[in-house]
């Protein structure tokens, strides 16, 4: 039965109100912070404070089983909670802890779950990613970092790159090759390790939107036996598809990072309504009106994508079933985002160049968000998503 409304009962509407009330009390007026493009220690601290408050409510682990710090609540409740977080401009959960939690819940040993899930739920331990390498980006299976058996444990050697905010993290999830010379996707294993271990070195990579990513070097890092997450040699299917296919996890919520764009659109529309250009409000200009309508349409589509992803992951089918539609949707966002920013730069004109000071538009938000839009390739390029759509979705030859 076609239904796009998530909160269709009084109970669920009450839940939405509870979430909204929490946000109003915890971050009055919203708190705009994207850890990918921000190195301010005060704002980082405020973001962590916020997620610790969410953790105290038990809401980060809302849908996890009770045995592992969760509340066993429904996917739709999680969806509604995150929709409120998006609308209210809450910060995203810092770095990749939630993805690690998904992998732990699926493939971790009871001891690993006990050891790590609490820190993620309470946001007391931050997790970074060790996936990409200088020679293995889109083609992740070309990775050459190795983990060699050594007694009970492992010796890790290699280099990871583009590790978003790894310098803020205490732990890392790393993909490494445990068997050399086998078919590319086989022989890759997943490890979880403390960044305090001897032999781990970080080097900063500053991105063009004021954030920091990192090179992570592993020089004979000695890992204990319980650093292995999941089955040896099976990380490609167990973990990576759990990640790349992360969007397929039941009850995929809307993406806070993507929904930032709605806030920019509100700012833009406000600016166009109050700004006179050539003797008339900018939003009366017929070309600008069409551009604003196109941007609005794109943002509405993004919201529909969130609902489609939810429906796809919980019902696994709508009339023209397509198992890769969540990847299609993510790929589309990756193309839309820079296009959105380019369009508003066209509308705003020269003042949008000014980054700070009294002459900057909206404290430079537009200028900064334009720069950030080239971070759209994090988690896989738009082109790679297109190739996945074509081959896995449409069945075209590889």
């Amino acid at each position: 039965m076609v239904d796009f409304v998530p909160d269709d009962t009084a109970e669920l509407r009450g839940w939405r109100n509870e979430a909204r009330q929490f946000l109003e009390e915890t971050i009055p007026g919203g708190f705009y912070f994207d850890y990918d493009y921000d190195e301010s220690p005060e704002r980082w601290a405020k973001c962590i404070d916020f997620w610790q408050a969410v953790g105290r409510k038990g809401w980060t682990a809302l849908t996890w089983p009770a045995a592992y710090y969760g509340q066993g609540r429904s996917a739709i409740e999680r969806y509604i909670l995150q929709e409120e977080f998006c609308t209210y401009a809450a910060p995203n959960y810092p770095v990749i802890g939630l993805a690690v939690a998904t992998a732990l819940l699926r493939h971790g040993t009871p001891e690993q779950k006990k050891q790590h899930l609490k820190g993620i739920a309470e946001c007391t331990t931050l997790w970074g990613e060790g996936y990409s390498e200088p020679g293995a980006g889109s083609d992740l299976a070309a990775l050459t970092t190795t983990a060699r058996r050594d007694g009970d444990g492992w010796i890790l050697n290699g280099q990871k790159t583009l590790g978003t905010a790894a310098h803020m993290c205490q732990w890392m999830m790393v993909l490494a090759r445990t068997e050399v010379g086998v078919q590319r996707h086989a022989g890759i294993s997943c490890f979880i390790l403390s960044l305090d271990l001897p032999g781990v070195t970080l080097l900063p990579l500053e991105n063009m939107a004021d954030g920091q990513q990192n090179q992570t070097f592993f020089d004979n890092v000695r890992l204990p036996a319980d650093a292995l997450l999941g089955t040896e040699g099976q990380a490609w299917t167990e973990i990576w598809f759990g990640q790349g296919g992360e969007k397929l996890v039941a009850g995929t919520p809307p993406d806070i990072w993507q929904m930032r764009i709605e806030r920019q659109l509100k700012l833009l529309r406000g600016y166009c309504a109050e700004t006179q250009r050539h003797g008339a409000p900018l939003d009366q200009d017929p070309v600008v009106r069409l551009q604003l309508a196109e941007l609005y349409s794109g943002v509405e589509l993004l919201k529909l994508h969130a609902k489609e992803n939810y429906a796809q992951s919980t019902q696994l089918d709508w009339h023209a079933s397509n198992p890769v539609s969540p990847i299609m949707n993510l790929g589309w966002f990756k193309e839309f985002w820079p296009d959105f920013c380019q369009t508003y730069m066209d509308i705003l004109g020269p003042q949008a160049m000014v980054a700070e000071g009294p002459d900057a538009l909206c404290n430079g938000h537009f200028e900064h968000y334009f720069r950030a839009s080239f971070g759209n390739h994090a988690g896989g390029t738009a082109q790679l998503k297109r190739m996945t759509m074509a081959t896995r979705g449409l069945g075209l030859p590889r």
Binding site: V2, F4, V5, Y79, A293, L301, L304, K307, E308, M387
Partner: protein, 363 residues
């Protein structure tokens, strides 16, 4: 169940029976034989009436049955998939919808005749610039005469009646006119879509005409009904898109050049994924808009759906031509049928520009 995009039993049944019926009765091969009348024939219309399809959404007292816009959506997906060219949208959805919304009890006989298939009504609403809302009706009653021109009237040449929109002292009014009566001149407009499209010139005395709904203004009802039509055109585009995607992908798998299937080339893969994205986005917007019937944002949702559909119709056929190259340019190949129809979809009940302007106004 919160957030569920799957069809219920009624919708599945409507979709499946439409697919079966139109697939058997009006396959694409027959489309090449049609020239001036589209798919319309007494026989087809009678069969559609017998299946109950001409009573969709019309009052039960008139032989109709309740039909949500989501139900219509399921049916129109198949109409688009099969490029069906019958006056269902015109006579049942738009004329029937307008008469049901704006009419009085006296007009129920007309609705019963529409549902039974005895009367086919072609709405003659808009003028040389096309249109998608009441503001686009300019023809004005002057000195008791309804005199002027209506354009792009689909199926006027096959209809028994026309439903003419005009301004009467600033208010919007509808008149039911017999297609053959003196003072009505119907002229065929040969067109890219090869759909039966007409110019209608009227010179009639208002006092002698049947006015729908008496003298009250019916702007709100009018805009709602046209919004429904726009959403169903978007559903047709989605249905067509599903089919364009299928045959384009199949061609890319089968056609070999330089020793490999062309679908192995990323340039071709991009074109195919373009079609997939446009098709999915149109269906998503249209399905969502359909679910908002009766809600405050209905007109906005309708414009979002139609604006997307207009872009998709052009972009999907373009991409498919790029994949097919020479063969797609041939009259014998199915693609050209979709390319032609796309232009009708892009222009009927508001083009992309008009709906973007509506979005700018309503959002």
């Amino acid at each position: 169940m919160a957030i569920d995009l799957s069809f219920n039993d009624t919708q599945t049944m409507l979709r499946d029976s439409a697919r079966e019926f139109f697939g058997a009765k009006l396959p694409l091969t027959k489309l090449r034989e049609r020239t001036t009348k589209g798919d319309f024939s007494e026989a087809i219309w009678r069969e559609m009436a017998d299946l109950g399809w001409l009573g969709m959404g019309l009052p039960e007292a008139c032989g109709g049955f309740a039909c949500s816009l989501s139900d219509f959506y399921a049916f129109y997906l198949e109409m688009g998939r099969q490029l069906v060219d019958v006056p269902h949208l015109e006579s049942v959805v738009v004329a029937g919808g307008l008469i049901a919304a704006a009419g009085r009890d006296a007009d129920h006989a007309t609705l019963a005749a529409i549902a039974a298939g005895d009367t086919v009504v072609a709405p003659a609403l808009f003028e040389e610039n096309g249109g998608h809302c009441a503001d686009d009706v300019h023809l004005t009653i002057d000195g008791g005469r309804l005199r002027g021109r209506k354009m792009y009237v689909r199926f006027a040449g096959q209809a028994s009646h026309l439903l003419v929109a005009a301004r009467d002292g600033g208010r919007l009014a509808l008149f039911l006119v017999e297609a053959t009566q003196p003072g009505v001149t119907i002229t065929s407009l040969p067109n890219i879509a090869r759909t039966p499209l007409y110019r209608v010139d009227v010179d009639l005395l208002v006092g002698e005409l049947a006015r729908i709904g008496g003298g009250r203004d019916i702007t709100a009802e009018f805009n709602e009904v046209i919004a429904r039509a726009a959403i169903l055109l978007a559903a047709e585009v989605a249905g067509a898109g599903e089919r364009i995607l299928e045959f384009t992908v199949n061609y890319a798998k089968e056609r070999s050049q330089f020793g490999v299937p062309i679908g192995k080339y990323q340039a071709i893969q991009y074109l195919c994924t373009d079609i997939a994205l446009h098709y999915r986005h149109t269906s998503l917007f249209a399905l969502h808009a359909a679910s908002r019937e009766g809600e405050e944002d209905f007109l906005l949702r309708a414009s979002l759906a139609k604006a997307e559909a207009c872009r998709a119709a052009g972009a999907m056929t373009f991409a498919s031509h790029e994949v097919h190259a020479g063969i797609g340019f041939m009259e014998d190949y199915d693609l050209q049928l979709f390319t032609r129809r796309a232009k009708l979809w892009e222009n009927l009940y508001g083009d992309r520009r008009a709906h973007l302007e509506m979005i700018a106004r309503l959002a």
